[in-house]
Symmetry: C2
Subunit: 277 residues, 2 copies
């Protein structure tokens, strides 16, 4: 089944070729999971979108209208992934901001099917060669300049790898190409900072609000010493990492506790036996 | 007069909202000047586009068809600016490269009018606060991830500034938001390297081929000590800098010689007295 698309609240699948989203990647996006019409992480998505608009000097979208439109596109879908793109819209030639911006809103909705084995057993991840540049002006935002992620993801096509971990220029592991990273050392949970590079994931924010987590740089060597490693994503939820760079893990109690929390939020994660409550 | 647009060789002004150019900034562009149907820097534009395609693993466009289409869009225009955008085209959700890419080609053409006073007297430039991130994987290319330039250009709206100079994270001046930078010290010409950040401009390449230029890091302090400073752009040509950060310059013999070279290439630069040969 193809994605359902709307542009500026009208069913449609095209944008202007002069849209600054297309010409400069000048905009933001959110990718969210809609379960039976509900979006458990909605407020966090909107908080990040709002913060990004302020940093990029974009007008704010009408959040209530956005919510209604996302619901409309998800009608009849039990479990869906919705992408919201909010670009600066058409502009004249040149980088200068339009004096009167008319942003473009694109929504797409598609059915979501999650792979049970990934939640039961975990996924194997690759350590990418692509490094993330240090750019505090843009770090944390889910903006439309995603060539680093494209280049990192292009490093492998072997389906045995479910994700790739990406390092910063100093060699610290920052995140996966499309998920955040957590490592568990005994009672201590840790996740890398995203003030210099990387995306401040909405699922990551949920974990940070749920329990104490040290936000600290993690070297590949330290990651190998973790008791548990998992990835977080607003769409894919809590993914145990079962293998990376020759090391293997079995999903442990910390990961299982967070998966259980995810289910209580209303974000079911499948197992080989189905969808536990 | 509005821009004329074609998408995949057909008159049109829209692209798919699922185009990776729009969703990730996954593509390249060239902005070129067409004078009476001729594109004096065509080969350099195509060399850069080809190099960018190889680095981003994009298929190459049909260069001959591209040339014909650019000519078609410029019919009746004496002096025109053409933008070529070459994106990876539609993709499924996620960063992974499409297994069978169908790139999107967008061409736009618009009349070009250059401001004579800029070439006679020079322009005043601002020193931007926005810093360029170090990313050798993407540096030099004219790719569609241009939020750094958007942020730098958004720093000022005062029309007294014709451009803004942008520094790297170490504080060296790299380029302007949409032009390359040269400084002249006696007989020595210098321009910053673009292997870590910045764009390898087509006009810059023409200057480097025309005469000896030292490619070296330039601090703001050293720039202030230059005898002449000018910017280069494939579209705007050779722009003397007449003021920056309290220092002023008068366009000198080096800048004038390069402007004369530009005219012999078939790229006229106006003066208050008209277009000299």
């Amino acid at each position: 089944m193809n994605a359902r698309l709307s542009v500026n609240f009208v069913d449609g699948a095209t944008v202007s070729a002069a849209d600054r989203g297309f010409t400069y990647g000048d905009g933001l996006f959110e990718t969210l999971r809609v379960v039976a019409g509900r979006v458990p992480l909605w407020d966090r998505h909107m908080a990040r979108l709002r913060a990004g608009c302020e940093r990029l000097r974009l007008p704010l979208p009408d959040v209530d209208a956005l919510r209604l439109e996302a619901s409309r596109l998800c009608e009849g879908l039990d479990d869906a992934v919705v992408r919201i793109t909010w670009s600066r819209g058409e502009g004249e030639r040149g980088y200068a901001l339009p004096s009167r911006p008319h942003p473009t809103l694109v929504l797409s909705a598609a059915p979501l099917a999650l792979d049970a084995s990934a939640y039961d057993e975990g996924i194997a991840v690759r350590l990418c060669e692509t490094r993330l540049a240090t750019q505090p002006l843009l770090a944390g935002m889910k903006h439309l300049n995603r060539l680093e992620q494209v280049m990192a993801r292009a490093e492998w096509s072997d389906a045995a790898y479910g994700e790739g971990l990406v390092r910063d220029m100093a060699g610290h592991v920052v995140c996966a190409t499309a998920a955040n990273l957590f490592a568990v050392f005994g009672d201590r949970w840790a996740t890398p900072p995203v003030e210099a590079c990387g995306v401040a994931g909405v699922a990551r924010a949920e974990v940070l609000a749920w329990r104490e987590v040290a936000v600290e740089a993690i070297t590949p060597g330290r990651l190998m010493a973790a008791d548990e490693v998992f990835l977080t994503s607003a769409v894919r939820g809590i993914l145990p990492v079962r293998a990376c760079a020759g090391r293997s893990w079995t999903p442990g109690p910390a990961t299982r506790a967070l998966q259980a929390h995810w289910r209580t939020l209303g974000l079911p994660l499948p197992t080989m036996e189905g969808f536990p409550k």
